[in-house]
Amino acid sequence: MNKNLKLVLFGFLVWLIPFLVSFVVFPLKETMRPLFESIMPLVLTVTVIVLAYYYLKDLDADFAKEGIIAGVVWFIISIIIDLALFLPASPMQMSFADYIMDIGLTYVMIPVITTGMGYLAQNL
């Protein structure tokens, strides 16, 4: 698969998988908020580790650089799709500030993880 296509497709999956899981576990947000807030970063972390592995394993060089690029691109994709869903009038609508505080900043985990994995592969 073309590298750039794979990068964007995986970025979409990094957003989609936690989003689908959040739908399933959303009732917990009202009844057991701390558990909900623990599940979502965990799902995001596992998703990013798995997809970063499948992305980096087919590369021959520049793992560190590619790790940084993947993290930044996936972070931007997740934020853009979320904003398209959460900002317009809908049952999910929230203000930009609320979105950033509640969801958006958690995505900082994405570049942190992919950069770490890229540098680890670079050292092998």
Binding site: M32, L35, P41, A52, Y53, K57, M101, T106, V112, L120
Partner: protein, 132 residues
């Protein structure tokens, strides 16, 4: 396993506990539940990623086993130190509240250390296939 390595694992475990504790202390002062949730998960995940990277870069084999060891030791250290703070009254939370609100977040630590171990194991296997 040599003494230096054991010391490194324990020292890193202490830092994995210390960074989120300091960060969440200031976040809880701000009084926002959302800010607390975000800072707790990102501080735990971020410190686990950085310290796993520093630890794994000197490891050459048995990555999964090392990841499992890191996970067990780091989670134990963070929980034990948190419980000590609760018993000393420094942390204002109750044990039950702690078990429900904070402990589940620590699952991120094994997800990262074991995930990195599996990842390095596969990457080394791939390199061996290409070179073989």
């Amino acid at each position: 396993m040599d003494f230096k390595k054991i010391l490194e694992i324990i020292g890193f475990g202490f830092i994995v506990w210390l960074i989120p504790t300091i960060v969440t202390y200031f976040a809880s002062d701000a009084g926002s539940v959302q800010l607390y949730d975000f800072t707790a998960s990102v501080a735990i995940g971020g410190s686990a990623v950085v310290l796993s990277y520093i630890y794994f870069k000197d490891i050459t084999s048995h990555f999964v086993r090392e990841g499992v060891i890191l996970a067990i030791v780091w989670v134990l250290i963070t929980i034990v130190l948190d419980v000590v703070l609760i018993y000393l009254g420094i942390s204002k939370t109750s044990l039950i509240e702690y078990a429900v609100t904070i402990v589940p977040l620590y699952v991120i630590i094994p997800a990262i250390t074991i995930g990195f171990g599996l990842y390095l194991d596969q990457m080394v296997a791939n390199v061996s296939i290409y070179e073989g």
